[in-house]
């Protein structure tokens, strides 16, 4: 039997559809057992594997415009910054799927990967995870909660991939069909702004969208070959992305 071509799971996020509602953030936290914030946590110490940011056009009222950018681990495929720097090999790129996996059980908490990631997609457990009393029974049994002092990040809901593969195996199939494996954020988006799939499959919708006009990746020149694409048909969005870093004085 021919060897299965390795998949490169990725997504294309349509910035013209994203309403910034945050449903993806909530679905992600529920699927992956991310705890609610400690009372002292802020937007700099919270854990949001998926996080909606806001990029403005830098102009004041009434010419201001903003676009919502869902940011998650960009699943860098080349020179993956976090994989190269982890001293314990607690991060690796899964060859069969292209997913950048994090092993919290091996993580030492040195946070070198967090310094390396230019997308700020990695989060540290500054506190012990705590759910309100009685709410532990709503945890997802497929995902292990992490302990204090380790780094965690989006892994494209790898648990759902395992579930889909187990289901396929139980039905006697060796491969899952497209659509059987969908990360929580993709499923939850009310505007259907995220298209997910195998970028290595040229016929897939995600691959076609990634090649389309108006699709781009963040920090392309760094050469990380990330697997999360964004697209927009609004020229000012492209302009704002190119125009430079750090101009946002507020909100984001």
């Amino acid at each position: 039997m021919a060897a299965k071509k390795p998949a490169r799971y990725g997504m294309v996020i349509d910035l013209d559809r994203c309403t910034g509602c945050g449903a993806c953030m909530v679905a992600c936290a529920i699927e992956n057992n991310v705890p609610p914030a400690n009372p002292e946590a802020t937007e700099r110490t919270g854990i949001t594997w998926m996080r909606v940011q806001r990029l403005g056009n830098g102009r004041p009222f009434p010419d201001s415009r903003a676009v919502f950018f869902p940011i998650l681990c960009q699943q860098c495929g080349h020179h993956t910054p976090c994989v190269a720097v982890c001293p314990q090999n607690a991060v690796e790129v899964d060859a069969a799927t292209g997913i950048v996996d994090q092993m919290p059980q091996r993580c030492l908490g040195c946070r070198y990967c967090m310094a390396a990631c230019p997308y700020h997609a990695r989060y540290f457990n500054w506190w012990d995870p705590a759910w309100p009393a009685g709410m532990e029974k709503t945890l997802n049994p497929d995902v292990a909660p992490r302990m204090r002092g380790v780094v965690e990040k989006c892994n494209l809901c790898h648990g759902r991939l395992h579930r889909a593969q187990a289901k396929a195996a139980a039905e006697g199939r060796r491969e899952i069909t497209a659509g059987e494996y969908v990360p929580a954020c993709v499923e939850a988006c009310p505007a259907k702004a995220i298209t997910f799939g195998d970028l290595a499959d040229d016929q897939s919708e995600v691959a076609q969208l990634a090649r389309s006009e108006g699709a781009f990746r963040l920090l392309e020149k760094l050469g990380t070959e990330s697997k999360v694409y964004y697209r927009s048909e609004r020229p000012w969005v492209h302009q704002a992305v190119k125009s430079g870093i750090g101009k946002e004085p507020q909100r984001g």
Binding site: A37, P39, P132
Partner: protein, 686 residues
């Protein structure tokens, strides 16, 4: 020869070195590492059989289908139901974490009575007896004081039961919660709409049925009229940033252009009995005057009017922000009038009739107390107020309700949390939480069809939970439980042999006429399903009235909502989001309100940098927002996308957790028409 000290030392040293050749130290180190994965604080997810169950979300009127992934009987995650006829597989952020609500530690689990500032547990019969005594008193004294039920989710079967009970209670009056609009007789055929002109409605951010609206997004143009650059405004095809409170002026300005340039639908105009009056009123608002009032350039208003009718069926909607509450009658009528001009009423892509599921016997309209808005009740007339806000999807300004209460009154809140109406209640009755009781939902207000969705119970309520119907039955000394009435209603639907059932489990549709028995229909709905009948209700014949008796209210609304005030020069504009402005939220909402900047939070206000500078307040400093009715402390966020001179105040959860959504609204005060969406305010540094 004995063991000397040196021998002992050598033995110990050798032993220590040799130990490293055994597995002992490595296992110990390994054990230590495993321990670090299993600190006592890290919870263990529950294990058990994973099941999929279905229900309908009742957290807001959209009534989206819900697929629950449960471990044994505990839902651990919720998702939408693909191919659902109205929700299109979507669940919003609030719906996604709804399964946390029954487990909130702060939820009310037993009946409470207020003693001073605190609540104390009492038996439910005490509450029922107190209310029954008040009712008896009204009957015996023959006073004109009323008994009222304020319903956050009208249109349910429970609402019918309330209305019937009020029909028998002394001076019973049934009140719709602010911004609840169950009597909407028209829905919107959004899939074929050409242009939506929204006056402050959060069209893309929690309005109508989100799945349906967003699915149709590519097919309609959206023009958002709003002071604040909301998410809807950001994604609209055009944003008209008007001065606060000038919606009616803009609506009349647009009407002026449509009439002047003869861009309106002549047939629709003919069917309006007071078109001439309306046209005369619109004539007083030419583009220049509308521009002066709204702050938009006159050319923009003209272009907007042409844009409105230039692309297929045009629909104008009046918003009701979950934080700011409803618009006044004047605005609503002025905006609704645009639909007459656009000819979108009764047309494909426009407003089409919305229906209701057949009612069970004994619930004919004549037997029920009619629906009223809060403003319809005379001031100081309510002796007993029962509030059902267990699933309120929006914050209320208490003053709007308080002024209707008689001097001696009892307020009973049927609720799940001590936020919301319970703050002012004398008695709190613990309602079953979301997912704990079988209930129903009517067609969402935007859907032009008749619908009946059953929300099956996935969890058991706490032993002392009492639902509204149960409470009324206790006072009446008997009566059918809600579940029984629901079954009767399903039987009535079955008997009518209309419409079809959509099954959440597999997306199949079954015509009701093919369902063998009422029990089978009940079973299909309870497992996860909704009934929908797209056959349009008969069109209302006869002429429409545009202004009716409200011409002066419209004129007042258009001429200046927010008079200048030397002491309070700023405009306070509250806003909220349907999923979180109403009351207690899941702790996972910290992702939005605390761990990111998606929402700034209910303890912040946003100001333009010039405004902030004028009052000497820097970003993230605490300020006091002062109005004529009160004040509150808020942290300031400086944002140059805010209109200068405006204070945008979020009504919702806060990162600090100690700021209730309604506290700001209390400071807003209530205008003459019962609205609280605008106020004059001032600021000072705290």
């Amino acid at each position: 020869m004995g063991l000397g000290r040196r021998d002992l030392l050598k033995l110990m040293g050798g032993g220590a070195a040799g130990l490293f050749l055994t597995p002992v130290p490595w296992r110990l180190i390994d054990g230590v590492a495993i321990r670090t994965e299993n600190w006592p604080g890290v919870p263990d997810p529950p294990r058990g059989e994973v099941r999929t169950r279905y229900t309908t979300c009742t957290l807001c009127p959209a009534a989206c289908g819900v697929r629950a992934r449960s471990v044994v009987d505990q839902p651990v995650s919720l998702a939408g139901v693909a191919a659902h006829p109205t929700s299109a597989g979507v669940l919003c952020a609030a719906g996604l974490c709804g399964h946390h609500l029954p487990l909130l530690p702060s939820r009310v689990r037993q009946p409470l009575a207020r003693r001073g500032d605190k609540f104390q547990p009492v038996p439910i019969d005490t509450v029922a007896a107190a209310v029954a005594a008040a009712l008896e008193d009204i009957r015996n004294s023959g006073s004109a004081e009323r008994v009222a039920v304020l319903d956050a989710r009208p249109g349910r079967t429970a609402s019918l039961i309330y209305r019937r009970w009020l029909g028998t209670a002394p001076n019973g009056i049934y009140l719709l919660a602010p911004s609840a609009d169950s009597s909407a007789s028209l829905g919107i055929d959004i899939a074929r709409t050409g242009t939506v002109l929204s006056f402050g409605a959060p069209v893309l951010d929690g309005w109508g049925t989100p799945g349906r609206v967003l699915e149709a997004r590519r097919s309609f143009r959206l023009i958002q009229v709003e002071t604040r650059q909301s998410r809807t405004a950001l994604l609209a095809d055009g944003w008209l940033p008007i001065r606060p409170g000038t919606e009616a002026a803009l609506a009349l300005g647009i009407a002026n252009v449509l009439i002047a340039e003869k861009l309106y639908d002549a047939a629709a105009a003919r069917s309006a009995s007071d078109f001439a009056e309306y046209a005369a009123l619109a004539a007083e608002f030419p583009p220049q005057r509308a521009a002066e009032l709204t702050g938009l350039p006159a050319q923009t208003i003209v272009a907007a009017a042409r844009d409105f009718v230039g692309h297929g069926t045009a629909v104008a909607v009046a918003g009701s922000d979950p934080g700011a509450g409803p618009m006044g009658d004047g605005e609503r009528i002025a905006i609704a009038a645009l639909n007459v001009l656009a000819g979108s009423i009764g047309r494909e892509g426009g407003f089409l009739p919305r229906g209701e599921a057949p009612r069970p016997p004994g619930f004919e309209e004549a037997a029920l107390a009619p629906e009223h808005g809060i403003a319809d009740a005379p001031d100081a007339s309510i002796r007993v107020l029962i509030i059902d806000d267990a699933r309120a999807a929006g914050a209320w300004c208490w003053s709007a309700i308080e002024r209707k209460l008689a001097r001696a009154h009892i307020v009973v809140a049927l609720t799940g949390s001590l936020d919301g109406a319970a703050r002012h209640a004398d008695f709190v009755v613990p309602a079953p939480a979301y997912l704990e009781e079988v209930e129903d939902a009517p067609a969402p207000p935007d859907v032009p069809a008749a619908m009946f969705s059953l929300a099956g119970a996935l969890l058991k309520p706490p032993p002392e939970a009492v639902d509204g119907v149960d409470f009324l039955n206790r006072m009446a000394g008997g009566g059918a439980a809600l579940a029984d009435v629901l079954k009767e209603r399903v039987a009535a639907i079955h008997a009518a042999r209309r419409g079809e059932v959509f099954h959440y489990t597999d997306g199949a549709r079954t015509a009701v006429s093919d369902v063998k028995s009422a029990e089978d229909l009940w079973k299909a709905l309870e497992e996860g399903g909704c009934w929908i009948d797209r056959r349009p209700a008969p069109k209302q014949e006869g002429r429409v009235t545009i202004l009716g008796a409200a011409a002066d209210r419209v004129l007042e609304a258009a001429s200046g909502r927010l008079p200048a005030d030397a002491l309070y020069p700023l405009a306070l504009v509250p806003y909220g989001w349907r999923g979180a402005s109403g009351g207690a939220v899941s702790p996972i909402m910290t992702k939005l309100y605390q761990e990111s900047d998606v929402e700034t939070g209910g303890d912040t206000v946003e100001l333009h940098p010039d405004t902030a500078q004028r009052y000497g307040i820097a970003d993230r400093q605490v300020a006091i927002v002062q109005t004529r009715c009160g004040s509150c402390r808020r942290r300031v966020r400086v944002d140059d996308a805010v209109m200068p001179g405006v204070i945008q105040a979020e009504v919702g959860p806060s990162a600090s957790g100690n700021c209730r959504p309604e506290a700001l609204l209390d400071a807003c005060g209530v205008a003459g028409d019962g609205t609280w969406r605008l106020a004059r305010a001032s600021l000072r540094r705290a």
